[in-house]
Symmetry: C2
């Protein structure tokens, strides 16, 4: 699917064009004609010409060729019109019209028909039910949005037209420019996948903003997003994270939103910058506009007022990922030379209330030379002597030597300064928290170097309510062993095997567990005995059999698992097959940590050992593994290897629906898998 | 200290007034003269008249009386001038000038002198080093800020002048009005305490905003804040929460910021609305401007675009305190009658992209009648057919029937709508997250009804590094018992006491612990034995003694504590005396929860039992007390009684510096205090 003629057509037909300013067909014509010169053919039955361009009743009547069709007519007419476009050789089409899947079953039928035509006739199709597309570098605005966006280097892909209009309008007001914009609508054909692939190679685009309510294909999304983040930032505003948000998505798109925890894990893994609000989305867009595209964590704060800088210092310090760079005595001395005695020369630097641009310049001159400072937050409050325009010009002068993040606080008194910033292609943050939140979001994106395993997309689809059964013990043990996931212990098929088993295992004490395909949770029915000496095993066998026979008469016993009792920190390694993203591996501490505190971390398979290590490091209870209370740290790399191995098993065995290694006892020397379950369809 | 003439003087002297527009003395005169008519006397040596008003060389030369002096001259001249003011009968003075404590030791000496004069001559003194004061309802602006604020019903008390200028300027641009503003500066005399007391009774003030870097007196602050929140909201932007933020406070005020956890506990307890950023501070001010002064948690979202409402639903759902009100079928049917078929009539209500004011009006008409909806978030994106002014007028029409929180998203295309809101005395939130964050902050403020204990201010000052010693065992046991905090077990002074002790306690097994003033942490030196049968006690006594003698030869043994072994959830109840707020009681789960996860909650003493219950309910590990993993819930009320009792003990025994009840084993039938320590100076 080529997107070239979509973003820069030589000739375009506007189907449904008209001369009534209140209509979409007029707005589209107007926006298209306001751009670079190209052949524009209004197609309408009601007019002879539209906005000075000769109109045609059908595309077939146009003499020249047509690259791209913009369609804004009644939904039921669209299939026929799209066929005519195909006959005319149209390569790309944007269906603006609503009234499809989101409206009724009849509309859904039209949408399926449209998708079929696009597929068969190889048309790159956007929509239906969308705002349109833009390419500022080609003077191309095929949307019905009010006002043309500024030219810039951010691409914006939106699964909501309304959010698109709001962000584009705000961007114009606040100095943020775009390279391309695309409103995906119902995604009958083109989805975010093709957009990400195209934008990864687009030289006009330095970063991609994506508002995402649904993903067409989890593994392919992960692949496309990962490929993109190797070269440029991908900022994702997730929608439908909560149950009510997901319900709202379903109500207006008819699609399911991915489950929040899995979605977040997938986005993190893809190296995306994840934000949770339109405010944060826009704030990150501002950072990108300032040229800040990689994490900048060691910050300096420069201010003309104490209060705002204290709040900024708090927000930076409490972010967890950002820090105020410490200054050396030499730096402080250099700062002091050009500042009044009341100025503070630590970090924050307070050039105090009566500061003119010269004091900001002096401080920036010093900061520009510091390797220990990644970026400067330049705070300006409108005090009596403040010259916002002058300070904005100073920021522009120094931005080439050190990234500067302007924070002019206030209202009317700072608009001149903000306007000056815009003239220099810079933007302003109205509150320090906006800038800090954006820097923290950027800093939280995971370096893609951790993704060392090449991704092999798998089918993620599973029947949601298929009944599952437990894989028989011997099969499970062999399968796990094949992936170097050794289940602890030796299987004794009958009581007389016990002496052999104890010899294989070495000294006790031992645990003895009934192996039965019918017993999923052994401890629930008391099908295990702990802390047994060798001479107690034989009797324990008999009492266990009798116990199980009494409490779970349906359970057959295919043997017993004999294990040596062992110590360690109780962990859980699990796998669930997500309906959208495929196998998801889960790690957590056992017992109350998982059950009560929900302290788990997730990754989409495949997971490399390095990435599994990062996954382990994410849990809140990490200190317990790192040697809290005076203990020795556990062997994290062995836990990581187990996670990575389980992720490979899950990918290569699509019949395994769920896996549970629980508990895994992590110790300084290893990880003992005490119990395991594999559930198959 | 009366603040009447400070906020509405009949006659005022401006000392340091001048005719040069770049100077503070000019800005002060200009702002004062722009207000209501009053007698204004410029005092200056260099001019005959200032801004058309006859000038005098000294206040003593003024013929009439003077209520209030605004002083903007060199710091070293201020003590003499303040004395002249006192001689003239001035009741209030505002020292704008900087160059005092924040500058040098010499400045600090001037500041002490100024404070002494104010105290002796009973002058209400603001500053030095401040922006000034305002009272919009009296046409009084004695600041050098640019532009006069809108009249409103919010008072704003700021410990930062720069933050004051920024917020006032932003407020003007965004439709937020104030009743009074006061910049506290160095607080040589007047502090936040007198302001809170005055504003609690001020009929022009419906709510108070406070930017707080330091508190002059912890217990009195708590008292004043609690008194205020009984009648109106108090919104606090805390500064210096982090170590770097606190360092920044110290650097520009020379004062210490309170420790974050204790400060937060104190503010919660006072019923304050706590915010962490200037953005959230301003957002709450907007809610208050809309007349929303109490928690509104059951929300409806009304929108003309899907994406923004999905994000809003997510933010509400994930807030933890706010909810989207569910709609009945009758409500949905009522909504449906006036909306197109594609509209969504759940919550969020989507009146879709081409909605005019009529559709918003129809939805608001239905929502206005719902008791289950506390407030409506009205989202507006600028689409082609959108009429922002019309929708703003609709919001204004319905605001009397249901609180409406306008969220016009975008830039230039919605400015007309925002202007219309301002004309109606309403304000706009530019992003849904701003509104949700403010609503969540309001909802998180604790109902003051929980504070049932009358507050008895105590001296909070303690020597920070005083060496502490452990209160002897018998004294400690008696002191605890006097507060109904029973330490478990019976003291055996010598081995022969053991049989009596076992008879008193009842059946074993027992724990035996060495009591020694030198052993603070018994388990560290192995000075205890667990799980002993009655017949093992005598031998255990001897081995314990020998063990302690070997490993801690300096320790004297004054007896042993015999306890019955008992079960329960391990908790910690503690007390530390905070340098600013006095005794702080701490509750947490024992072991890793406190040590590793830092999962504790705090309250300033005194703590009622009801408040202690709220304190217990705050910890993250709460499910463990409420019966996680199928267990019975513990007796929370007995734990609460223990916390409340310890808070009384701390208040009435200022010599106790720290207390530790650890572990306290909480069970369904009680709370067993297994070990305790009281540290005294």
């Amino acid at each position: 699917m080529s997107l070239t003629t979509l973003f820069n057509p030589r000739s375009v037909a506007v189907i449904g064009a008209c001369n009534e300013p209140q209509k979409v067909g007029y707005a589209l014509m107007k926006n298209i004609l306001a751009g670079s010169p190209r052949e524009v053919y209004p197609i309408t039955l009601g007019e002879v010409e539209v906005l000075g361009h000769a109109a045609y009743p059908t595309v077939s009547m146009v003499a020249g060729s047509i690259n791209c069709a913009i369609i804004a007519v009644r939904a039921d007419l669209v299939p026929k019109i799209l066929t005519e476009c195909a006959d005319k050789g149209v390569e790309s089409a944007v269906i603006i019209s609503a009234g499809f899947k989101e409206m009724s079953e009849e509309g859904a039928a039209h949408e399926r028909e449209v998708a079929r035509i696009a597929h068969e006739r190889k048309i790159t199709l956007v929509g239906p039910n969308c705002l349109g597309v833009m390419n500022t570098h080609a003077g191309w605005n095929a949307t019905f949005a009010v006002g043309a966006p500024r030219t810039g280097h951010l691409a914006f892909v939106s699964q909501s037209g309304a959010l698109g209009t709001a962000i584009l309008d705000q961007a114009n007001a606040e100095g943020v420019g775009f390279s391309k914009f695309i409103s995906l609508g119902n995604e009958a054909a083109l989805t975010e996948l093709e957009c990400l692939a195209y934008l990864a190679d687009d030289s006009d685009t330095a970063a991609v903003l994506l508002y995402l309510e649904q993903v067409a294909d989890g593994p392919r999304f992960l692949e496309a997003a990962t490929a993109l983040t190797r070269t440029k930032p991908l900022v994702v505003l997730r929608a439908g994270r909560s149950s009510r948000g997901a319900a709202a998505v379903a109500s207006h798109t008819g699609s399911l939103a991915p489950s929040d925890a899995v979605f977040t894990a997938a986005l993190r893994q893809a190296g995306a910058v994840i934000v949770d609000s339109t405010r944060a989305f826009f704030s990150v867009a501002k950072l990108l506009t300032l040229g800040i595209t990689t994490p900048r964590t060691r910050l300096a704060v420069l201010t003309n007022g104490g209060g705002p800088s204290v709040n900024t210092a708090d927000l930076i310090d409490l972010s967890g990922t950002l820090t105020l760079a410490p200054f050396t005595d030499a730096t402080k001395a250099a700062l002091r030379t050009g500042l009044p005695s009341m100025a503070a020369v630590g970090n924050p630097i307070d050039v105090i209330g009566d500061a003119g641009p010269d004091r900001y310049a002096h401080a920036l001159d010093t900061l520009a030379g510091l390797d220990t400072v990644d970026a400067v937050l330049g705070l300006v409050t409108p005090q009596m002597m403040t010259d916002p325009e002058g300070i904005a010009n100073t920021f522009a002068t120094y931005r080439g030597r050190k990234p500067i993040i302007p924070v002019f606080m206030g209202g009317g008194a700072v608009t001149g300064g903000i306007r000056t910033l815009h003239e220099h292609g810079m933007v302003n943050f109205n509150a320090p928290s906006d800038a800090v939140e954006a820097l923290a979001a950027l800093a939280a994106s995971v370096p893609i170097s951790l993704r060392t395993t090449p991704l092999e997309p798998t089918s993620a689809t599973t029947a949601p309510h298929a009944s599952l059964s437990m894989l028989p013990f011997t099969e499970m043990q062999e399968l796990l062993a094949a992936y170097h996931i050794p289940l602890a212990g030796v299987l004794a098929e009958e009581r007389d095997d016990l002496p052999r088993a104890t010899r294989e295992l070495g000294d006790g004490p031992y645990a003895l567990k009934v192996v039965s395909p019918e017993l999923v949770h052994k401890s629930d029915v008391g099908a295990l005995r702990l802390n047994l000496a060798a001479h107690e095993l034989s009797e324990a066998w008999d009492t266990l059999l009798a116990h199980v026979h009494e409490h779970a008469p349906e359970a057959t016993c295919t043997g017993m698992l004999l294990q040596r009792m062992t110590g360690g920190v109780e962990c859980i390694v699990g796998m669930k097959r997500d309906r959208i993203f495929g196998p998801v591996v889960v790690f957590g501490l056992g017992g109350i940590f998982v059950e009560t505190l929900k302290d788990v971390s997730m990754r989409i398979a495949p997971v490399s050992e390095a990435e599994a290590l990062a996954q382990i490091l994410e849990i809140k209870g990490l200190p317990l593994l790192m040697g809290a209370r005076g203990r020795e740290p556990v062997a994290l790399e062995i836990l990581a290897a187990t996670i990575a191995a389980l992720s490979r098993l899950a990918l290569e065995h699509p019949e395994i629906e769920e896996a549970d290694l629980n508990p895994v006892l992590a110790s300084p020397s290893g990880a003992t898998i005490v119990d395991a379950r594999l559930m198959v369809r």
